[in-house]
Symmetry: C2
Subunit: 443 residues, 2 copies
């Protein structure tokens, strides 16, 4: 067959990069579990009516068809599609299993998602997300909105990546403010203001006026969007704009609690950023985005918010709040600048050199002994001169080569970085702690 | 919306079972890494011509279509399908990246695969596999065939599941034997003998005769298939059948090496079972299947073999040997008999009780202090009487409830299993090691 070529939008990593990815996933997972989030994995597919249940046929979804399906069969009402996020499957899972779950239900979910984008757009069509959500029956206490950024802040700080700032806003602030101004379609205003970074304030004001706002109303909307503070002082700045509305007041109180709680536990992590809107229309209160220092222009690496009405069925209603780390997005940015390194391209700590093929049993026993103490070990693939065996290790970044002693001589082990070679006993030798597993570092 | 229902063939676990699955995956992964296998993850999709490159249009594949695709467009030659195993994507990956990999290349891959089965068949349509393979350029030393069962034997022994026996055979033994008997289509004979467990020896003999074998040839094939030994004594038993053939001799030597190496390092793990054939036609030598004690009639939980010609392009050829653990299959069998348990349904070790809402900041600080020592901690969702907070922990199997002391009294911690309650300091308290993470056990 001809040599295969990559598929655009489906990133694949060589083992060294995959080890970095796994290392990051483990750290994220470990932080989520420290906060008591339980793991969940949902199937990759959902019925199409679930994926499009808001009637959004514009969604970029991959639809599945069985190769063996009768092509003349009626159009399948139960068609399946690949999930495009982890929130829709989670909402479905909660409804399906509500009788078996304990509420409030805290879960994390680290999985691939797929978007059926046109190939030429150069966007990810397969990528990894790491989500946490808390849902409860009927009502979810507000303090969970304050917890989300702390969990994600801890998770991101555990990674060898630049510092992150979580930007937070509250839909109630925007909607209440727009209503207080007398604007009647706050969703439309929000969607317009959301374009601020793309088209600038002049064009946003023009659009707002074109949609029926007065020049003064448009100006007030822009002034609100420009407020950005790292503490609760945004409340006074909003108040000074002179708009009065109950929903606005409620939103300001909520947003202040999120910011104050974060400053209590993790100073410098959060900023109230009143232009943040989040496109998805199921958010009803707090919304989060996240900037990675030095990569601000690439957009949010971690987003989410509160949704009062995501999952409901009959009399059951499950409000939630959640946040999603874009793992592939972070890796893509950092790999693109060679900003993540790993000390070797295999898990192996020791290669046992094989002087001649008939010593393989002995070399296998040495390896077995080392592995029994959790030291990752390979035996050389073929008998060869020691120089060749050292090059085998060097090319992979394996730090140690074990040499079986000839004719009753003791075994020796060589640190191929320093060249130091010492006597060693396979039953007792231990590597320094930092050599046990490959070391992942940011730059 | 109406309450969703499960999709047959797409198993989903509640968090407790997902924690068991994760625990098993971690143990498998850890064993693979101990042997120096590097992680790899390939995209979920392959071009259809890759998936069907042997012209097998009968494969149960899910084909993808973009929802936004122009329905009037020409049939897409670059159609994508979901991979149905991890071997085809791995072979493609090796060809695509051969210039960037170090050979021999040892990789493991733990991923979901999909089969586009008809829904009513009740088979898995999505399931998890854990594969290891070693590939080399041009030639792969035979000793890797002897290593595969040792790695998988260690991995399976690390799991809280019944003991497994790896059944091993060699295609060269069968083909050489059939040829030595004078049978001219050894593949056809192999496919027929492969039905032994399903239709029994009488029917197999009838089929062989119907396809042109003499009664004596058919009988010899059955006698070969009935040979099963836990050491290399199968060689003599085959020799006594009086067939002479060079390929047979080569196959017997290889198979004896696999069995003898296993008995050297892992007595009782392996059995030479000369009826094992493996349906897939790319195997060229050693083949493996695995029986789980008490679940023999459900078939192999872990299979693989040697393939000389799986990946090749132009002048490049990459022979390999590999084996695949059916993780979903093992879990399905054991969950079906409630044979795997976990001590709690959340990762949480401690719940901090919340006497009244205005103490939340203090309770959050206690949680923060415990988490700083890697103790998984939640704060109670709402202020409530202590009895209710204990029930919150009990329902989830969380072992400890932390009570903040009132009015300058010291904090206390209660082990809700024993009822024992003692004074504790959040800055120093440590749980017993066995309570740090949920305990997974076989039955």
């Amino acid at each position: 067959m001809s040599k295969p070529t990559p598929l655009s939008g489906f990133p694949e990593y060589l083992p060294a990069q995959r080890m970095i990815e796994q290392n990051l996933i483990e750290r994220i997972r470990s932080t989520f579990e420290l906060y008591g989030f339980a793991p969940l994995e949902t199937r990759a597919v959902e019925p199409m009516d679930q994926l499009l249940r808001k009637g959004e046929t514009s969604k970029e979804v991959y639809v599945l068809r069985r190769l063996q399906e009768d092509p003349n069969a009626e159009k399948d009402d139960n068609a399946l599609g690949l999930h495009f996020d982890l929130t829709v499957p989670f909402a479905r899972f909660v409804l399906e299993n509500s009788g078996k779950l304990q509420f409030p239900f805290r879960r994390y979910q680290i999985q691939k998602v797929w978007r059926g984008e046109r190939p030429q757009e150069g966007r990810y069509r397969e990528f990894l997300q790491a989500d946490i959500d808390v849902v409860d029956r009927d009502n979810l206490p507000f303090h969970y909105d304050t917890e989300m950024p702390l969990v994600v802040g801890d998770a991101l700080r555990s990674l060898p990546i630049p510092p992150a700032t979580i930007l937070v806003n509250n839909r109630k602030v925007c909607e209440g403010f727009y209503r207080g101004l007398g604007l009647e379609d706050p969703d439309e205003v929000l969607r317009t203001v959301d374009k601020l970074d793309k088209i600038g304030p002049v064009k946003v004001a023009e659009l707002l006026v074109a949609k029926g706002a007065s020049a003064a109303q448009a100006e007030a909307c822009l002034q609100l969007a420009q407020i950005s503070t790292s503490d609760a002082s945004f409340v006074d700045r909003v108040r000074k704009l002179g708009v009065d509305n109950d929903l606005l007041t409620e939103g300001l109180e909520e947003l202040a609690r999120v910011v104050e709680t974060a400053n209590e536990h993790a100073p410098g992590l959060i900023r109230a950023e009143l232009k943040i809107a989040r496109g998805l229309d199921y958010y009803t209160g707090t919304v989060y985005e996240t900037e990675l220092q030095g990569y601000e222009r690439y957009g949010s690496i971690c987003s989410g918010g509160r949704y009062e009405n995501l999952a409901s069925s009959g009399n059951e209603r499950f409000p939630g709040v959640g946040i999603s780390i874009g793992v592939s997005r972070i890796l893509g940015l950092l790999f693109g600048r060679d900003a993540l390194t790993i000390s070797r391209s295999v898990p192996t700590t020791v290669v046992v050199a094989l002087p001649q093929e008939d010593l393989r049993v002995r070399c296998d026993q040495i390896a077995r002994s080392l592995r029994s103490r959790r030291i990752s070990t390979e035996v050389a693939p073929t008998a060869a001169k020691f120089g060749k065996q050292i090059r085998f290790a060097e090319r992979r970044g394996i730090p140690y080569v074990w040499f079986p002693g000839a004719d009753g001589e003791p075994d020796t082990i060589k640190d191929i970085r320093s060249g130091e070679q010492v006597e060693a006993d396979a039953a007792t030798w231990e590597p320094p702690a930092q050599d046990r597993t490959p070391l992942v570092q940011g730059v």
